[in-house]
């Protein structure tokens, strides 16, 4: 995909790009599969001899398709599509605001908007709630932690914002009455099991889990709102391209999608504490016996320093690339695409991909030019 632009015909380039798209989904699939087993383990037995004790797989299908896997993979797919389309929208909105590459920017904006709208809304009304139901069914202590429910409660409220006082076991904040019961159990009078029904040793850090979860939740609401605004202004005489403050919102929106993805992961991982494998293996028991505190600090500091540095450089380069933008069409070096190999057979028949088209074969059609990004 990255290096094929000058060497492949349109169809094969699309094929190469499609393989990348497929592989990205496939990669997410296995990562979420492994993590879902840690959230809702099944299809294994713990064998004690020979020592050390270990979990041994008994059923591969059960290990692959744990209860949390399907809800989570769709949640992750939708979130990734949302973030990806938000990036395209952000760059396009920036060009429209700066009155540069207007045609290109509008075309890209129009292309990315339906994706953003579809996936932001699907995540908010379908995949997100579906995953919350799965957590309710299989990880009650986690649900109680992320919503700050201490005592068993019927008609439990859903907090929009709040602060958990862990010692007094109270949550102060803004909430919608009975909504948590309704969403989790599809009945407004259902009882949500509180943290006090579980040993305190098994609680996640309540306020932290609550805060990261609600940050993600509120951002999801914000994305849904952005989606509605985007669609409304697009169909209302294309005002989306002239209302500057909405365009600016779309410019910064991409950062929020990143924050939402990260806080979503934190919700899953912090909410799972103190377990590494839910109700099977505690985090404190999973630590390597030879690992010292100094070593752990060394690696944490190393990664924080390295990645902070790289993040700064990355943002700097990305920003420079966006600000430079694509070259105007008339300056762009073009490649005669009709002479490039456009089927698998052509790729392997041609003698040297560069030499194939230039002189030996006359293109059958008038020369079609493709823009090449320098």
């Amino acid at each position: 995909m990255l290096f094929g632009g000058n060497r492949l015909g349109p169809r094969m380039w699309l094929a190469a790009t499609s393989i990348v798209v497929f592989a990205a989904h496939f990669s997410a699939l296995w990562i979420i599969m492994a993590n879902s087993w840690m959230q809702t383990p099944q299809g294994y037995e713990v064998v004690n001899s020979p020592a050390p004790a270990r979990a041994v797989m008994t059923d591969f299908t059960q290990v692959m398709f744990t209860p949390s896997f399907l809800p989570r993979i769709f949640h992750v797919f939708f979130a990734s599509w949302t973030a990806g389309s938000a990036l395209v929208l952000s760059v396009s909105a920036y060009y429209i605001l700066r009155k540069r590459n207007i045609d290109l920017a509008k075309a890209n904006f129009t292309l990315a908007l339906p994706f953003f709208v579809t996936f932001a809304i699907l995540n908010f009304i379908a995949a997100g709630p579906r995953q919350a139901i799965e957590v309710t069914d299989h990880q009650q202590a986690k649900l109680a932690a992320i919503e700050g429910v201490f005592d068993d409660q019927s008609c439990a409220p859903l907090y929009i914002v709040g602060w958990v006082n862990e010692s007094e076991q109270k949550v102060t904040g803004l909430s919608v009455p009975c909504l948590l019961s309704l969403l989790s159990y599809r009945s407004k009078d259902a009882t949500v099991t509180g943290l006090n029904s579980f040993p305190q040793d098994d609680w996640a850090p309540v306020n932290l889990a609550f805060q990261v979860y609600h940050l993600m939740f509120n951002l999801a609401m914000f994305f849904a709102l952005m989606a509605v605004i985007g669609v409304a202004l697009y169909f209302w005489k294309r005002r989306i391209f002239t209302w500057r403050w909405v365009l600016w919102l779309f410019v910064i929106n991409v950062a929020f999608t990143e924050v939402a993805i990260i806080t979503g992961w934190w919700t899953a991982e912090i909410g799972r504490q103190p377990w590494v494998v839910w109700n099977v293996l505690r985090t404190e028991d999973a630590v390597s016996p030879t690992l010292t505190t100094t070593q752990a600090w060394f690696s944490v500091v190393m990664f924080v320093v390295l990645y902070s540095l790289l993040l700064v450089l990355f943002l700097y380069l990305l920003n420079a690339k966006i600000k430079r933008g694509p070259e105007p069409l008339e300056d762009v070096e073009t490649v005669d695409v009709t002479s490039l190999p456009n089927t698998v057979r052509e790729i392997f028949r041609s003698h040297g991909p560069r030499a194939s088209g230039d002189a030996t074969r006359e293109p059958a059609h008038p020369v079609e030019a493709r823009e090449v990004t320098p």
């Binding site: 270990r54 041994v56 190393m302 450089l313 392997f348």
Partner: protein
């Protein structure tokens, strides 16, 4: 041959594949400051591995994955016991990746010089670290009854692994030089041909030293070769490949020289693997504590399921990897989407 043995062979082959593929990337990195002077030349050298280097690096991830899934106890011991060493390997690999990606993103000569230096140093460091790791595996480590390794970083830096580290760097320099010779022409290629014989001499001398040293002092490994005669085909094959490499270069048949060099690297790794078998980690405290293909393996059902996945996946990976190399064959030219 049991299921565990099959996985031992597969693991060895994946690591051999990594060394062959990322080996020439490292070699190109090591040679890069020597053979390329101008910005244009440096870009040519960098882009000779441009479309393939990150695919090559994934083989080490595959190697880690195979070890994790097939021999989890060995994986746990190694990655915990060599914690700081692995962090350094990660640091080097991350910086090397970033150097390739960032280098040409700005025009400033200082910026480019910085990332060129990072690319060369991290390529060299990675080759050294891999050699040092290999040397420690062959030497055996402080592995106790619980399967915990107690080695400090400084303990790992004794002479034997250090020499293997330098040998690895020389080996990858030879491998990378042959690759560059295929992918470049003009002045770059002349300079490559200036350094290639020197790297070959260094490599052969160092390898001879390592082989003698191993045979004389590494009893666990040399005993394997005395007990069983047939594993001798691996080092013997490597020697044949080394001679063929030299002959092919003399005849100017670079592609075959590259194949010979790849075969040589693979066979040298397999020589080590054959010497280790059935051990994965050798304990210097008591041979009874050794982690082997039997006591460190996953359950048979897991190994079976993974074998099915590997049987589907690995041919597919080999097929498209070969396709990519074929597609990007020929001398490297700079294009608008080059690094």
């Amino acid at each position: 041959m049991s299921l565990n043995d099959v996985w031992f062979v597969l693991f060895s082959l994946v690591i051999a594949g990594y060394l062959i593929l990322d080996g020439f990337d490292m070699g190109v990195g090591i040679l890069h400051p020597l053979v390329a002077r101008t910005d244009h030349e440096r870009r040519i050298v960098l882009n000779s591995i441009g479309p393939v280097w990150d695919g090559n690096e994934v083989w080490i991830v595959l190697g880690g994955g195979v070890l994790f899934a097939a021999f989890p106890l060995a994986y746990a011991s190694l990655f915990s016991g060599f914690y700081i060493a692995f962090m350094l390997v990660l640091l080097v690999m991350i910086l090397r990746t970033v150097a390739v990606e960032f280098r040409s993103k700005r025009r400033s000569p200082a910026w480019r010089a910085l990332w060129d230096t990072v690319f060369a140093l991290t390529s060299l460091a990675l080759a050294l670290l891999l050699g040092i790791a290999f040397g420690n595996i062959i030497s055996g480590v402080d592995l106790d009854q619980q399967g915990d390794i107690h080695e400090s970083l400084l303990n790992m830096l004794h002479p034997y692994p250090l020499v293997i580290g330098v040998t690895a760097a020389a080996m990858f320099a030879v491998h990378g030089a042959i690759f560059l010779s295929m992918k470049t022409d003009g002045e770059i290629r002349q300079r490559v041909h200036h350094y290639l014989p020197r790297a070959q001499v260094a490599f052969v001398a160092l390898t001879t030293l390592v082989v003698v040293w191993t045979a004389l002092t590494k009893d666990e490994v040399s005993a394997r070769y005395r007990e069983d005669f047939w594993p001798i085909v691996f080092p013997a094959g490597a020697l044949v490949a080394c001679v063929l490499l030299w002959r092919m270069l003399r005849q100017g048949r670079e592609f075959y020289a590259f194949i010979a060099s790849a075969a040589m690297i693979g066979l040298l790794l397999l020589s080590g693997g054959a010497g280790m078998y059935p051990n994965l980690i050798i304990s210097s405290i008591d041979p009874a504590y050794n982690l082997t293909v039997d006591n460190a393996a996953s359950a048979p059902s897991t190994l079976k399921v993974m074998l099915v996945i590997a049987a589907i996946g690995i041919p597919l990976v080999l097929l498209y990897t070969a396709g990519v190399y074929y597609f990007f064959r020929g001398k490297t030219e700079l294009e608008s989407d080059s690094y």
